[in-house]
Symmetry: C2
Subunit: 135 residues, 2 copies
């Protein structure tokens, strides 16, 4: 069964944004910079899902442009599935608009693709096979 893997939230400053979650008893377990996306990320487990704070390293990065256009807020929702190839074929067969037609491989072998917000209730939806982290 699919489950919510993580919520990506675009913020101006991880140092600032993390304070709210920490005040509620949550903790950042990993911070890293994803060079090819020019973004710094902080991972905050909450139940069996995770909050992923996203801070751009340059204004012209994807998250930097998102912030300039829309301001801080939810950037994407990631659903974990057991069979990402089947999910991709199902969505293609339904005519869903995808950000790319292929499955991408991220850090640590994490497999993913993105469904365009116009096909997912206004939400940029990541479908991933491996959880973003084992934490």
């Amino acid at each position: 069964m699919p489950s919510i893997d993580h919520l990506g939230i675009a913020v101006q400053s991880i140092a600032e944004a993390r304070k709210l979650y920490e005040s509620l008893g949550l903790a950042v377990v990993r911070e890293e910079t994803v060079e090819h996306e020019r973004v710094r990320t902080a991972l905050i487990p909450a139940g069996d899902a995770r909050i992923e704070l996203l801070e751009p390293t340059t204004p012209d990065s994807p998250v930097g442009r998102f912030l300039a256009k829309r301001g801080e807020g939810l950037h994407h929702i990631a659903l974990h599935v057991d069979d990402i190839s089947a999910a991709l074929e199902t969505l293609k067969a339904r005519g869903a608009r995808l950000i790319s037609e292929d499955i991408q491989t991220g850090a640590g072998g994490h497999l993913y693709f993105f469904v365009h917000p116009s096909s997912a209730g206004g939400v940029l939806l990541e479908i991933c096979q491996d959880p973003i982290s084992d934490v």
Copy 2:
């Protein structure tokens, strides 16, 4: 430890929006109309969290106004906490901007309050003590 309880997603049509999630193997387990909020809701469990689709019953309802202003998309994120009174006091002490200063009681005794997006990384953040559903 706090956990993600649900993600509220504002949509024009639950009938349309649910199809994507159903095609991925998820299921709507409850639909109901919350009269005082003038909203229809559909609850979709995904892991230990839930996706809550929100369809306004009138354009001048809170979710109807959200749709008119921002279009479909994430409306709020709800974090479940073990002690909502302590969470409220903690956030007040930090000077967080709240939608209301008091804890509200929803359907089935569900306790909640909302943190304004300006204090939560651009996300309307619901803090709740009881999960929105036992499903």
